[in-house]
Amino acid sequence: MSRLVSLLPLLLLAAAPGRKPPAGHPDAGPNPAPDACETCHAEATPEVMKAWEGGAHGLSLVKCFVCHGSTGRDFVRAPAAPRCEGCHPAEVASLAPAKGKKTAAPGCFACHDRHALTAEGKPNPHAR
């Protein structure tokens, strides 16, 4: 628990507005506490944990590391659409700009909440 407590200030600092978050994840050490992501973030970012738990990823136990990588050098703070392709290739492909157009495709998270993944009230661009 002491490790978790020591991590908290780092995480809160990282989340503070107006500060550029560090590129990597704070070192959770080689032997993190049981269920480190969930345990620590239940305190550090409770709204994120709640959104994830209530969403499709939470239900299917697609856990933090699937999108964010490990806490090592491959950690990704804000995953982009290519991260989504592994499981949702058809959906990502359906967002490609129309032929001849130069406009960039909107990212998944332009509509989908990052953790709940819901896109309520948004038009469905995947149907075309």
Partner: protein, 751 residues
């Protein structure tokens, strides 16, 4: 499978971003890659995938959208590429010299293994040797071992991890229906109105099937999910009704559900009359009236008293399951199988389907979920256990032995008439020095056996000679070996896997074996040649083995003789029976019009042809306690299981850094009430002790835990739950009771 540039670009775009971690997106689109059709290496779900190969290395996987998993993979499957080049891949043979495992040539290692086999058999007869495999090996590999040991070396000491995993499910299917393997399929999930999950944490052990269940519940009309499990697992999150109960009392609950169904007029009397027999013990010697009289004692109130589950919940579960016109699907796993009354528990699930007639219809089936990717296809169907011969044949059956002797072109009387030793007895015989050479392939009994310290001592005692064929070293088994043979890993070899729903699928070779590793088929053929049995194992390619298997299954209840190698290559999985080339396969077995083995003029929609009388048997199975219950000295129940990040003993998944980081060590999950009594907080060390052994874990307090029950993960080689588990076995299936024993707990250190 070679694909076009256009297909390749599409596939590249679909490549798993996770599996390609560290690779920029444009690198995935570079030329020169191939995508090879395969199946996930892990659980019994059997998810189809494509293996991405670049410069001779596996660099990515992506789910197969044309397979049952619709392109989805769980977290373990996505990270498969990381296991291929893991630092603990064994790249050359090892031989123990002066107490240490040192590098050796293949010829030296195999020469030594063959010599030890010859010496053991010369001194102690054929039963002085044994084989212990698993449902992780390819069908062709397991078959080669089975044939070499039973027909060549003439011992039936052929066992494997499925004895620890699925034996009670086999016993349940065989005693109720006459033949092993489920009659239903995954598609039944899409039609089910009621899903009954008993002793299954599918959310973590079978995530892709769980996703399908969750999707059905979300999209179907008024779909109900009932979860029975002493521990509130993540699977219970989709439950409309969750019943917790004292471990070991689920037999009473299942009988009470049948009681409600029968007493409230929910039984299908016509189905009962036409298709069912009733029995007690081993014989179908009872009647429908006897069964009703037996059930009279299992009132919901009595079951509630025995189990601690609320009486109204037991009644509600029964009414939901039995409601006329609703499709009911039951699924279960180790919670029922790893029990000393495992076969009985399986029988009681089947009973619910039989008395209601909810079987062989879309959405209505008893569907046992399998733990290993090829336990069904390779070991159960292939007959690679000590009492079995291929495709439903039994060692103890003279006619079956004669059939196999003819098919194998060995003299009459070659096959021994006595069953070999089931797993726990096999390792005890090794302990006693009666089995002098044990050949372990693709599994890790040094971590996975119950009461594991006892059998680790036996393996380390040097009374016998331990050969381990394994892709990784050290494992908790290979570290004890006299010879370790570097086996080729998934994607480095070709062969067939058969998963839960009778689906057989070809895993094509994607890359060359690492280092000096060789496919197990090649290793076994080498061993056979060195032992004078080259004629029995003459194959150069796995496809040649498959040709032989097609001749063995023909005319049996497992008939897949139309499933040619070409058909497997062209398909995304085929379900047997499939008795002729061009047949599409069978979703629902025993069903007229679907199953080609049911005559077109059968009198009803279903025919249970597994038994000569073409009936299924409802067994009268009373509540019985587990082998060990709590008492003043050992006041807590202890149970073990899986986490979503790791598979079995973690040999492979612990090589994936994300999985390591997310869930490294086994912890002991405790209810806060128990923890308070012990003075333990999350992160503290807690020492758990059973009558067999002791181990220390870090504690994790969770209100989801059942008071009085400690749960520990099974994947950690450093903190082994099996030091505590019970090796008492089911008298029929010989499967040990991993799921229940009694322990005491004490605080061993602070966080």
């Amino acid at each position: 499978m070679t694909i076009t540039r256009r297909d390749f670009l599409k596939a590249s775009a679909a490549a798993s971003a996770l599996a390609g971690l560290g690779l920029p997106a444009d690198a995935l689109a570079a030329q020169g890659e191939r995508w090879v059709k395969s199946v996930c290496r892990y659980c019994g779900t059997g998810c189809g995938l494509h293996v991405g190969v670049r410069d001779g290395k596996v660099f990515a996987v992506r789910g197969d959208r044309e397979n049952h998993n619709r392109g989805l993979l769980c977290v373990k499957g996505f990270l498969l590429p990381q296991i291929m080049g893991a630092p603990d891949r064994l790249l050359h043979p090892l031989v123990r010299k002066d107490g240490k495992l040192v590098r050796a040539s293949w010829d030296e290692a195999m020469g030594l293994v063959a010599a030890r086999f010859r010496e053991a058999i010369a001194a102690g007869g054929p039963d002085a040797v044994g084989f212990y495999g698993s449902g992780q090996a390819l069908t062709e590999e397991t078959y080669a071992a089975n044939k070499l040991f039973k027909a060549g070396l003439r011992t039936n000491n052929v066992e494997g991890n499925p004895r620890l995993c699925m034996a009670s499910a086999v016993g349940g299917y065989v005693s109720t229906f006459g033949k092993d393997e489920p009659m239903g399929c995954y598609e039944d999930i899409d039609h089910a109105d009621v899903m009954l999950l008993v002793g299954s944490n599918a959310a973590e052990a079978h995530p892709i099937l769980f996703e399908r269940m969750a999707r059905r519940r979300q999209t179907g009309k008024d779909v109900k999910v009932v979860v029975l499990d002493p521990r509130r697992t993540p699977t219970a999150r989709i439950a409309d009704l969750y019943l917790s109960f004292t471990p070991g009392t689920d037999l009473a609950i299942l009988n009470a559900m049948a009681h409600v169904i029968v007493n409230e007029g929910l039984a299908d009397e016509a189905f009962v009359k036409q298709h069912l027999l009733f029995g007690e013990g081993k014989d179908a010697n009872k009647s429908w009236e006897d069964y009703k009289a037996f059930l009279a004692a299992y009132t919901p109130a009595r079951a509630a008293e025995l189990s601690g589950a609320p009486v109204e919940d037991i009644v509600k579960a029964a009414r939901w399951f039995g409601e006329k016109g609703k499709a009911s699907l039951s699924m279960w796993c180790m919670g029922l199988n790893q029990r000393t009354k495992g076969v009985w528990a399986n029988n009681l699930v089947h009973n619910l389907h039989l008395v209601t007639g909810k079987i062989g219809l879309p959405g209505s089936s008893p569907l046992s979920l399998t733990g290993q990717p090829n336990a069904c296809g390779g070991v159960r169907d292939g007959g690679a256990l000590s009492h079995l011969l291929p495709y439903g044949r039994l060692v103890a059956n003279e006619k079956h032995r004669a059939e196999m002797e003819k098919l194998w072109s060995v003299p009459a009387g070659t096959l021994r008439a006595e069953n070999g030793l089931p797993t726990v007895d096999l390792f005890r015989a090794f302990e006693e020095g009666k089995v002098k050479v044990l050949y372990v392939m693709t599994t890790n009994p040094g971590q996975s056996m119950p009461d594991v310290d006892r059998y680790r001592k036996a393996m380390d005692a040097r009374k016998g000679f331990l050969v381990v064929s394994e892709a990784f070293h050290p494992t908790r088994t290979s570290e004890l070996a006299d010879v370790v043979l570097p086996a080729a890993l998934w994607a480095e070899k070709e062969g067939v896997y058969g998963c839960t729903e009778r689906r057989y699928q070809l895993l094509e070779q994607a890359v060359r074996p690492a280092g000096e590793a060789r496919p197990d088929l090649q290793i076994l053929c080498d061993l056979a040649a060195r032992l004078g049995h080259a004629k029995l194992l003459p194959w150069k390619q796995p496809a040649e083995v498959w040709e032989e298997l097609l001749t063995l299954c023909k005319g049996t209840a497992y008939d897949f003789s139309g499933m040619t190698r070409q058909a497997l290559k062209a398909s995304h999985g085929l379900l047997w029976p499939l008795p002729a080339v061009g047949h599409p396969g069978t979703k629902r077995r025993y069903v007229k019009g679907e199953d080609p083995l049911v005559p077109a003029d059968a009198p009803d929609r279903i025919q249970f042809y597994g038994r000569p009388d073409k009936k299924a048997v409802v067994w009268l199975r009373p509540q019985q306690p587990p082998a060990e219950v709590t008492d003043a000295e050992y006041p807590l129940y202890f149970t073990t299981g899986r986490v979503v990040e790791h598979w079995h003993t973690g040999t492979m998944t612990r090589n994936c850094k994300e999985l390591r980081h997310a869930n490294l060590e086994s912890v002991a999950e405790l209810h806060p009430d128990d923890a308070t009594r012990l003075g333990v907080r999350t992160g503290d060390e807690v020492r758990l002790t059973s009558r067999r052994g002791t181990e220390t874990f870090r504690a994790k307090l969770t209100p989801e835990a059942r008071p009085g029950l400690v749960f520990v993960h099974m994947h950690d080689p450093d903190r082994m739950c099996n030091r505590l588990t019970n090796d008492a076995v089911d008298p029929v299936s010989r499967q040990p009771e991993f799921k229940i024993c009694a322990v005491k707990a004490e605080k061993a250190g602070s966080a």
